[in-house]
C-alpha cells in the first residue's frame, strides 16, 4: 500500500479526462439532488396548503393526495435506477480509463 506516494494526484486532477468526469458527475448529481428535494417537499407543502387539490377523487375513492404520495416512491426509485444506469454506463468507464493509466 505504499503506492500512495508514487501517484501524482495533482496531475490526475488536472487530467482533462478527470475534469470531464468531474463536470459530468457534478452536473448530473446536483440536478438530481435538487429535483428530488423539490419534489419531496412538494408533498408536505401540498398537504398543508393545497388540500382542495389533494382531495380531488380521480380513481374511485383514490384521490390526488394518495397518488402524489405514491408517486414519491416511484420518483425515488426512478432516480435510483437512472443514476445507476448513468454511473454503470458512463462514470465507471471514464474513471476506469484514468485508473488504467496508473498501473
Amino acid at each position: 500500500m505504499s503506492k500512495t506516494n508514487d501517484i501524482n494526484w495533482a496531475a490526475i486532477d488536472a487530467d482533462p479526462r478527470f475534469q470531464a468526469l468531474h463536470r459530468k458527475k457534478t452536473l448530473f448529481l446536483w440536478g438530481l439532488m435538487i429535483f428530488s428535494t423539490i419534489y419531496y417537499f412538494l408533498l408536505p407543502i401540498g398537504a398543508a396548503y393545497f388540500q382542495d387539490l389533494f382531495k380531488v377523487k380521480v380513481w374511485g375513492v383514490v384521490n390526488v393526495g394518495i397518488l402524489f404520495a405514491l408517486s414519491e416512491f416511484v420518483v425515488a426509485w426512478g432516480i435510483a435506477v437512472w443514476y445507476s444506469i448513468k454511473a454503470n454506463g458512463q462514470f465507471d468507464a471514464m474513471a476506469q480509463a484514468i485508473i488504467n493509466d496508473q498501473k
Binding site: M1, K3, T4, I7, W9, A10, I12, D13, F18, L21, H22, K25, L29, L32, M33, S36, T37, Y40, F41, L43, P44, I45, A47, A48, Y49, Q51, F54, K55, K57, W59, G60, V61, V62, N63, G65, I66, A69, L70, E72, F73, A76, W77, I79, A80, V81, Y83, S84, A87, N88, D92, A95, I98, I99, Q102
Partner: protein, 679 residues
C-alpha cells in the same frame, strides 16, 4: 469452547425467562408458549450465525467491516434491516391505522432520505473511508482533533438512538407478551452483545439480513391476505376502507365537533385526506430536512458502506435498500388501513395509544382471531420479528459507537495509530462491551421516561453536525479543520438545545391539566361565537414563543353549549352503585368490563399526576415550550453548514489544501481504496 458454553447459558436463560413474565400483554397466557417457541427459533438462528461468523472474525477489518466481503445485494438487505427499526415498522403502520393519510405521508421521507445517501455519500465514503466517519474527516483535516469530535458526535447520535430503541423495545415486548421491562432490556442487551463481541460486523450483517427477510415475508403475507378479497384492486380496497364503520367512527372522534354535519361517506373519505395528524407544515418541513440529510449522517448507516468490496457494490447496496425500504413502506399503507378496518382504531389505541400494536393485532385477526391457534401463531411471529428488529438495529448502533470509541479515540488519538493489530481487535471488543453495558443501564434508568424526542434528536444531530462535515470535506476544496470542528459543535449543540426547549419535553402543567381533565371531567360550557382566522405576526413567531407573538390559527366555527362531562372518578362511583343494583348476569359482566376500562384510564391519569407532583416546570425550567417545533432541523442544519463554511473561510489549513487533490481523485475513482481482505 468457553464461548459456546456462555451462549448456551444465555439461551437457556432467555427461554426460561418465560417463567418470569408477568401476566398481561397482547398474547393470551395459554398461547405464550408459542411466542416463546418462535422467539427461541429466531434466537437459535442468530446464535448459529454468530457462531459461524465468529470463526472468521479475527482482524480489525473483519471485526469492523466483515472483511469488506459483503456483496452489494447482501448489504442492501442489511441496510434495510439496520434502518427499519421497530419505530418505523410498527409505528408507521400504527399511525396509518389511527390517522390514515398523514401516517402514509410521514413514511415517504424515510425513503427519500436514501437519495442523498445514494447520490452524494455512499460511493465516496467507500472510496475514502476505512472503518468510521472519523476516518473520512481525518483524511484531509487534522486527524487527532477531527477524530475526537467525530467520535463524540457518533457516540452522541448512537446513544440517543440506542436509548430510544432500548426503551421502545422494552415497552414493546412488555405490551406484546408481558415480559418485565427490565428483563427485556437486559435480554436484548445480552443478545446484541453476543452478536457484536463474538461475530463483529459479519454476525451483525447477517442478523440484519435475517430480520429484513422475516419482516418483508411477514408483511407480504399479511398484505396479500388483506388485499386479496378485493382482487388486488386499489380503488376497490380503499372503497372498503372508507366505507367501514370503524374507520368512520375514528375520523368522527378525531374531528370532534367539526364532524357534526358530515355524512358517513364524507367521514370515511376524510381518512384518505391530509390533516388528521400532522397539523404544522413548518414542523413537517423541519422533520423532512432532518430525515433527508440525517440518514446520510447516521454513523451506523455510513458504517455499512465499509463492508462492501467496491464503490460499485456500495451503489448496488443502496439501490437494493431503496427497493426494500420503499416497498415495505408501500406495504404499510395496506397494513395500516387494513388494521383500521379489520381491528378498529378503538381497540388498537386501547392497547397502545401510539398505535404500535396495529400490525401485531392485524396479524392476530387475519390468523383467525384472539382465541384461535393460528391467530396467536401469527401474533407470535410478528412479535418475534419485532424482537429481531430491535436486536438487529441495536447491534448496528453498538458496533458504530464501539468503533468510534476504539478505532478513533483509543487507536487514533490515544495510541497515535501505533496499536498492534491484536491490540486493536481487543480494544474493539472491550469497547463493544462497554457500550453494550451502558446501553442496558441507560435503558433501565430511562424506564417510563419520555423518549419520543430522542429519535428526532438523533436525526437532527446527524443532519446538523455529521452531514455538513462529511459533505463539505468530500466536495468543498476550502473546507478545513477549524470549519469542521466549529460546524459539528455548533450544529449538534443547537439541535440538542432546541429540542430541550421544544414541545417534545414533559411540561408538568400540561400533564396535570390533561390528567385532571380525565379524572374530574369537563364543566359545562356556554355557546361560543365563531372566531375569525388569526394571522401570524411573522415567521419567527411560528418558531419561538416570544412576547407579543400571535401564532397563525385557522378560523373556528361557532360552538353550541356543551353539557358537563363526568370524570373517571365520578364515573367509577356511578358504575359501582349501578353494579350493586343489577342482578342480571350478562348486564353485570358488561358493567364490570366497562368499569375495568374506566379504571385503567383513571389509574393512568393518577400515575401521570403522581409523576409530575409538585413540579411546575420542565427540566429546563420552562412552563411551556419556547421553541415551537418538534424538530430543530430547520434552524440547526443551516447553522451547521454555515459554521463549517465560515470556519473554513476565516482560517488556513495547509494539510487540508494539500490533500484535496488526492481526496477528490480518490473519491471519484476509487484508486487506493481499502481492499477486501483475502481469505
Amino acid at each position: 469452547m468457553h464461548n459456546l458454553m456462555k451462549k448456551f447459558a444465555l439461551l437457556s436463560f432467555l427461554l426460561s425467562s418465560s417463567s418470569v413474565f408477568a401476566a398481561g400483554g397482547a398474547v393470551a397466557d395459554e398461547f405464550k408458549w408459542m411466542t416463546f417457541a418462535v422467539f427461541g427459533c429466531i434466537i437459535a438462528i442468530t446464535m448459529a450465525i454468530t457462531f459461524w461468523a465468529a470463526r472468521s472474525t479475527h482482524s480489525t477489518s473483519e471485526f469492523y467491516a466483515a472483511g469488506r466481503s459483503v456483496s452489494g445485494i447482501q448489504n442492501g438487505w442489511a441496510i434495510a434491516g439496520d434502518y427499519l427499526s421497530a419505530a418505523s415498522f410498527l409505528g408507521i403502520a400504527g399511525l396509518i391505522s389511527l390517522y390514515g393519510y398523514d401516517g402514509f405521508m410521514y413514511s415517504v421521507g424515510w425513503l427519500v432520505a436514501y437519495i442523498t445517501v445514494l447520490l452524494v455519500i455512499a460511493e465516496p465514503c467507500r472510496n475514502i473511508g476505512k472503518y468510521t466517519m472519523g476516518d473520512i474527516l481525518a483524511f484531509r483535516n487534522d486527524p487527532k482533533k477531527t477524530k475526537v469530535v467525530a467520535a463524540l458526535s457518533t457516540i452522541t447520535v448512537s446513544t440517543f438512538y440506542l436509548t430510544a430503541q432500548m426503551v421502545g423495545g422494552g415497552v414493546l415486548i412488555k405490551t406484546l407478551i408481558g415480559i418485565d421491562y427490565e428483563i427485556s432490556v437486559i435480554g436484548v442487551g445480552i443478545l446484541m452483545l453476543t452478536y457484536v463481541v463474538f461475530g463483529g460486523m459479519k454476525a451483525t450483517t447477517w442478523v440484519q439480513i435475517t430480520k429484513a427477510v422475516l419482516l418483508v415475508m411477514a408483511s407480504l403475507l399479511l398484505v396479500a391476505m388483506v388485499w386479496a378479497p378485493y382482487g388486488f384492486s386499489l380503488p376497490d380496497y380503499l372503497q372498503a376502507v372508507v366505507g367501514d364503520a370503524d374507520v368512520q367512527k375514528q375520523v368522527a372522534k378525531l374531528l370532534g365537533d367539526k364532524s357534526a354535519n358530515m355524512t358517513p361517506a364524507e367521514l370515511g373519505q376524510r381518512f384518505l385526506e391530509p390533516g388528521l395528524f400532522l397539523k404544522n407544515p413548518v414542523d413537517q418541513i423541519s422533520l423532512g430536512m432532518a430525515l433527508v440529510l440525517g440518514t446520510a449522517g447516521m454513523p451506523h448507516i455510513l458504517m455499512r458502506f465499509f463492508t462492501v468490496p467496491t464503490a460499485q457494490a456500495a451503489r448496488v447496496s443502496v439501490i437494493w435498500a431503496m427497493g426494500i425500504i420503499g416497498g415495505f413502506y408501500v406495504l404499510t399503507l395496506f397494513l395500516g388501513t387494513g388494521a383500521a378496518m379489520l381491528v378498529g382504531a378503538a381497540k388498537i389505541s386501547s392497547i397502545d395509544a401510539g398505535g404500535n400494536m396495529a400490525g401485531p393485532l392485524l396479524a392476530q385477526f387475519l390468523g383467525g382471531g384472539e382465541n384461535s391457534m393460528m391467530g396467536n401463531f401469527f401474533l407470535a411471529f410478528v412479535a418475534a420479528v419485532a424482537f429481531a428488529t430491535i436486536v438487529a438495529v441495536v447491534a448496528g448502533l453498538v458496533l458504530a459507537s464501539a468503533s468510534a470509541m476504539a478505532h478513533d479515540i483509543y487507536v487514533g488519538v490515544i495510541r497515535g495509530d501505533k496499536a498492534t493489530p491484536k491490540e486493536q481487535v481487543v480494544a474493539a471488543r472491550v469497547s463493544s462491551v462497554i457500550v453494550g453495558i451502558i446501553a442496558i443501564v441507560v435503558g433501565i434508568m430511562a424506564k417510563g421516561q419520555n423518549v419520543a424526542h430522542l429519535v428526532a434528536l438523533a436525526f437532527a444531530v446527524a443532519a446538523s453536525s455529521n452531514l455538513p462535515a462529511v459533505f463539505l470535506t468530500l466536495y468543498w476544496k476550502k473546507c478545513n479543520t477549524t470549519g469542521i470542528i466549529g460546524g459539528m459543535l455548533v450544529g449538534s449543540l443547537t439541535a440538542i438545545g432546541l429540542v430541550m426547549i421544544s414541545p417534545n419535553m414533559t411540561y408538568p402543567l400540561a400533564v396535570t391539566k390533561a390528567a385532571n381533565k380525565v379524572l374530574e371531567g369537563e364543566p359545562a360550557t356556554v355557546a361560543k361565537e365563531a372566531v375569525p382566522e388569526k394571522i401570524s405576526s411573522g415567521f419567527m413567531c411560528e418558531l419561538f414563543a416570544m412576547d407579543g407573538c400571535q401564532k397563525a390559527e385557522p378560523a373556528k366555527a361557532a360552538e353550541a353549549a356543551k353539557p358537563a362531562k363526568p370524570g373517571t372518578r365520578e364515573k367509577l362511583l356511578v358504575l359501582k352503585a349501578k353494579l350493586e343494583t343489577v342482578a342480571d348476569a350478562t348486564e353485570k359482566a358488561t358493567l364490570t368490563a366497562e368499569m375495568a376500562k374506566v379504571q385503567t384510564a383513571n389509574d393512568k391519569a393518577e400515575a401521570d399526576l403522581k409523576k409530575v407532583e409538585g413540579q411546575t416546570t420542565s427540566i429546563m425550567g420552562l412552563e411551556k415550550p419556547f421553541f415551537l417545533l418538534k424538530n430543530p432541523g430547520l434552524i440547526s442544519i443551516p447553522l451547521g453548514f454555515l459554521m463549517v463554511i465560515l470556519g473554513s473561510l476565516f482560517t488556513r489549513d495547509k494539510r487540508a489544501e494539500d490533500m484535496w487533490d488526492e481526496l477528490y481523485v480518490r473519491q471519484n475513482t476509487g484508486i487506493n481504496a481499502e481492499q477486501a481482505s483475502v481469505h
